[in-house]
């Protein structure tokens, strides 16, 4: 009688990597829903497009690398990358934005480093930075909130706009992005930055028609959506609290310092927390375990570092939102942080 030989332990927890990825995707839903509620179905189209491209490019590179395809695709990491890119880019950005970003993320940032678990940089954020630097115009044109639209956009309009740059009626994306008042739309952070640069104070900005026309309320709602999703992730123990809490606390503290120093030139902590991609970043991007630090102290440091970079660049840097840059810069420091934040091993003194 021969028995099977295998290694201890023989009991295991029955949660798998694919399930984790799936849970993360599910928890994105509230945010995505709010996004499409406010900005139209463009982002859903982008998600569809980006996911398809992500899966295709993952398959392609796996064929080239002669690696098992199905089991790797099943881990869901490529899908998640695609979805994150789609959420991050403007809903009516041209189709090739999503395609370039996704292909770059999956092939260059993830698979060339050896695939899941071995990439140094967050694929979605690296792709976002690449797109932002290469195509600043397309990447900063957000369409206004639907209620402020001068035109009502149908699904077909949006599909057309995505692929040709024009709606069925022949309006260009730039035209749609102009709200009723004829002001070009940008994100609230963008608006605030431009106004600050032109010498206005914060309170002036918040009362200005540009700002009111900007989609600040919508963005706040979307952030709230991601916050809810993130809390579910925390509750389900898919992510641990260290990074999100450290990051959000860091944002509040650093922005408060700046705000207290000069409230006329620096935006308030609350505004920092609920604008841009703060919540998405805190719960869904910085917590990507592969590119984040893995030690407890390291994670806290990582979160705080990202927060510092975000606040500094938002307040005095050249870009409106800094989350993607902050994530990449923090990623860069991870091996270094990990090395210097090793926990004290049992018996190594207290």
């Amino acid at each position: 009688m021969a028995f099977i030989s295998s290694s201890s332990p023989y009991q295991r927890v029955r949660r798998s990597t694919s399930e984790i990825m799936l849970l993360v995707l599910l928890c994105l839903i509230p945010g995505i829903f709010l996004q499409s509620y406010f900005f139209g179905l463009g982002n859903l189209l982008q998600i569809l497009l980006a996911s398809t491209v992500a899966l295709l490019s993952e398959t392609l590179i796996l064929i080239l690398r002669k690696r098992p395809i199905l089991s790797t695709i099943k881990d869901g990491s490529a899908l998640l990358t695609g979805v994150l890119i789609a959420i991050a880019i403007p809903p009516l950005a041209p189709w090739w934005i999503a395609v370039i970003g996704t292909v770059f993320a999956v092939i260059f940032v993830k698979q060339l480093y050896g695939g899941l678990g071995q990439n140094i940089f967050n694929p979605a954020m690296a792709a976002y930075v690449l797109l932002l630097i290469s195509f600043p115009v397309q990447m900063t044109t957000w369409i206004p909130v639907q209620s402020l639209h001068p035109f009502s956009l149908t699904v077909m309009d949006q599909i057309n706009a995505l692929f040709t740059g024009f709606t069925l009626d022949g309006y260009s994306v730039a035209q749609i992005s102009t709200s009723i008042d004829g002001l070009t739309m940008a994100t609230p952070l963008d608006t605030a930055r431009n106004a600050l640069n032109s010498g206005k104070t914060i309170s002036e900005i918040f009362n200005s028609p540009e700002y009111k026309a900007s989609s600040w309320q919508a963005i706040e709602w979307v952030n709230l959506g991601f916050l809810i999703g993130g809390l579910i992730l925390l509750y389900k123990r898919v992510i641990l609290w260290y990074i999100p809490i450290a990051f959000l606390a860091g944002i509040s503290i650093f922005s408060f310092i700046a705000f207290a120093y000069n409230p006329d030139l620096n935006i308030s902590p609350l505004f920092h927390l609920f604008s841009g991609a703060t919540m998405l970043g805190a719960f869904f991007i910085l917590t990507d375990p592969v590119t984040a630090s893995t030690t407890v102290k390291g994670r806290i440091f990582y979160g705080v570092l990202a927060a510092l970079i975000v606040v500094v660049i938002r307040n005095i840097g050249g870009y409106p939102d800094a989350l993607a840059f902050a994530v990449l810069l923090a990623n860069m420091c991870v091996p270094f942080i990990d090395y210097y934040t090793q926990p004290k091993v049992y018996g190594r003194g207290r």
Binding site: Q11, I20, T294, G347
Partner: protein, 694 residues
């Protein structure tokens, strides 16, 4: 082995411990316990198997055996002799020793070790046990020796010899009785406590007598309420001055709280520093099963011949705890307790977290085997395929040693031993908590075991290399010294010759000078080639001899002028040189030449040896009584000669001067040996011929 206490627990700490405060350790998990499968039934005797296989090898060393094949043994009879680290192995039932051979051991490797096989007679006759009511009259040394002779080792799993643990009784402040049994499925200790609470308390009193600790803590996990109650009852019965400092500490069910280091942290809040022994903190820990065995050994005089094994898992029809004789084949237990194998059946020795699997039942139960789990596939499914590590850090959260398993995995995969060391792989206790929680189903423990083995073998190799280097350097130094000695000797000999020459020749110095010159010249030519110049030296010696002869002739004829003499010497030297060159040229490769020369030398040596042997034998035949002495003398002479010829290192010569007795035995065995040697010589010759043919 004495350890100096470095950081003994203070009075305050002990007071804190006895006040009921307890601590916790980092990480840990809560696996499904599945203890109810086996915890209800009372302990039964597993019976006497037809044969017993008792492994006697311990840590790779074979002890002195006290029995031979064919001997009949009684239960409790010692099979081996105890040495300082090894304990006695006792027969676990009566019968006959049928074999002493290598048999598969209960070890994950499945490798064979030296074992004594006993065919049982079913009578289970035992040696007379001498009960000892008043063990307190005996000294600690006597008691510890008794424990060693009873063959008691740690029954919790690691199997560390108990007498070694008791050896430093001087500075023990805290004795912890480990009755935690945190591994799922296992209930052996649980049942033992329920049924033998009084004996356990007695055993604790024995330990108390030996160690004299200030405090004794019995640690039990809170999932064993019956056992806790039983021990409490037993302790209350004992109500005396003895039990005053014994406390029962119920700890939360939290794997791996039963691990020595983690339990010490729970009880005392102290961590055992890396590389230190708990005894250096004034703490010693014994498993509750061991305590029971100590009680039996000291009070009842019974050696350790059986242990309690939990048979569990859905593939066993009759589950429960049984008392099994050491050496019982597992197959016997499988048959007796109606094991029904299912598809892709596993058989796990120990618990499901830290145990190992065996591939067949033909292995014996050893002293450390506390549980046999035979799970069905539904109970413990095959591990799903391994996925890449996503560095989620779950493993670091649960690691009781506070390691970073994800980093360790990374470096184990890239075989970066120095990094593994930096990340303290050696602190890993292989508890399996990391692999338990890993969402990518990576068998982390397995990777660490391999990396650990590789590191330790690399370390061993480095140590070995260091020894080899030292030995090589010593040898080189010795050879150098020998060379110098030889040179000195040669010089002295030369001086002597010169003196003799001067004496015989009446101060005729000229020729000596010529020879010296010739020598110098020759040395100049001989030096660059490193060839083992036996042959060259011979040639040189011949030339010198010839030169000498000539000189003598010349001296006798003394009418020849000095110039002429010089010419003759020069000619002789030239001839010698020519000869040497010819010898060098006639074989194409110098190496072959060397080999030939060596082979020839060997052949010569052999021929000589054979002659010597033959003559010895003739001597033996003629005068058998005197032969040994003669042979010895001859051998010595021969060796002296060989020594001169071959310049053997001094060390070997020392051993070669054989005593007459050895020679005696050689001669006696010579008939048999002679044929072998003849064969060997023939072989050597054949080899030589073959080499020549090449």
């Amino acid at each position: 082995m004495t350890t100096t206490p470095i950081n003994l627990l203070s009075e305050e700490q002990l007071a804190e411990i006895s006040s009921g405060k307890h601590w916790s350790f980092h990480g840990g998990i809560h696996p499904q316990e599945n203890k109810q499968q086996s915890s209800k039934a009372i302990i039964k005797d597993a019976g006497i198997p037809p044969f017993l296989v008792i492994a006697v090898e311990q840590k790779g060393e074979s002890p002195l055996l006290l029995v031979n094949i064919g001997d009949s043994v009684l239960k409790g009879q010692a099979l081996t002799k105890a040495t300082d680290v090894m304990v006695v192995q006792n027969a676990s039932s009566s019968g006959t020793v049928t074999a002493i051979e290598k048999r598969t051991d209960l070890h994950p490797s499945g490798l064979p070790v030296l074992s004594v096989v006993i065919a049982t007679d079913g009578l289970d006759r035992s040696v007379e046990y001498s009960r000892c009511a008043d063990y307190k009259a005996q000294t600690n040394t006597q008691l510890i020796e008794k424990i060693q002779n009873a063959g008691i080792i740690g029954l919790g799993g690691a199997g560390f010899p108990t007498h070694l643990k008791l050896a430093h009784y001087a500075a023990i402040k805290l004795l912890i009785i480990n009755a935690v049994e945190c591994e799922p499925y296992i209930t052996a200790d649980d049942r033992l406590m329920q049924e033998h609470g009084d004996e356990i308390i007695d055993g604790i009193t024995v330990l108390q007598h030996i160690l004299k600790p200030q405090l004794i803590v019995i640690a039990i996990e809170d999932n064993k309420p019956d056992a806790i109650a039983a021990i409490k009852r037993a302790l209350q019965k004992k109500q005396s001055s003895q039990s005053a400092n014994i406390i029962i500490r119920t700890i939360a069910t939290h794997y791996p709280s039963g691990s020595e280091k983690q339990l010490i942290e729970i009880i005392t809040g102290q961590q055992t520093p890396i590389g230190k022994h708990p005894s250096e903190l004034g703490i010693v820990m014994h498993n509750v099963g061991t305590v029971f065995a100590i009680k039996e050994a000291i009070i009842d005089g019974k050696p350790l011949t059986s242990r309690i094994v939990t048979l569990t898992g859905e593939a066993f029809r009759k589950k429960g705890n049984v008392s099994v004789r050491i050496g019982t084949p597992i197959q016997y237990l499988l048959d007796k307790y109606e094991f029904t194998p299912t598809a892709s059946q596993k058989l796990i020795i120990g618990g499901p977290m830290m145990g190992f699997s065996i591939t067949h039942g033909d292995v014996p139960v050893t002293k450390t085997c506390n549980c046999i789990v035979a799970p069905t596939l539904q109970e413990m499914p095959e591990s799903p395929p391994e996925m890449p590590c996503i560095r989620c850090g779950e493993c670091a959260e649960v690691c009781p040693a506070q390691l970073l398993p994800q980093q360790l995995l990374w470096y184990a995969n890239s075989k970066d031993n120095s990094k593994l060391d930096e990340y303290n792989l050696s602190s890993c206790i292989e508890c399996g908590a990391c692999a338990f929680v890993c969402p990518s189903h990576i068998p982390l423990v397995q990777y660490y075991r391999i990396a650990k083995a590789e590191i330790s073998s690399a370390k061993q190799q480095a140590e070995k290399a260091e020894i080899a280097r030292i030995r090589f350097e010593h040898r080189a130094a010795r050879l150098q010294q020998a060379k110098l000695d030889r040179q000195v000797k040669h010089k002295q000999a030369a001086e002597k010759r010169k003196q003799q020459l001067q004496e015989t020749n009446g101060g005729e110095d000229l020729i000596a000078a010529a020879i010296a010159r010739a020598k110098a010249k020759k040395q100049a030519t001989a030096d660059p080639s490193d060839a083992p110049a036996d042959n060259k030296k011979d040639a040189v010696a011949a030339a010198i001899a010839r030169a000498k002869a000539k000189k003598q002739a010349a001296a006798e004829h003394s009418d020849a002028p000095a110039d002429n003499k010089k010419d003759a010497v020069a000619a002789a030297i030239a001839r010698a040189k020519a000869k040497k060159q010819a010898a060098a040229e006639h074989s194409d490769a110098p190496a072959d030449n060397k080999k030939d020369a060596v082979a020839a030398a060997i052949a010569r040596a052999k021929a000589k040896k054979q002659q010597a042997l033959e003559s010895t034998q003739i001597n033996t035949e003629i005068n058998p009584e005197n032969s040994a002495a003669i042979a010895a003398r001859k051998a010595r002479k021969e060796q002296a000669r060989l020594h001169k010829r071959q310049d053997l290192p001094a060390q070997i010569i020392d051993t070669t001067i054989a005593e007459p007795q050895t020679i005696d035995t050689t001669i006696k065995a010579s008939d048999d040996k002679k044929t072998k040697i003849a064969a060997a010589i023939a072989k050597a010759k054949a080899k030589k011929i073959a080499q020549k043919d090449q």
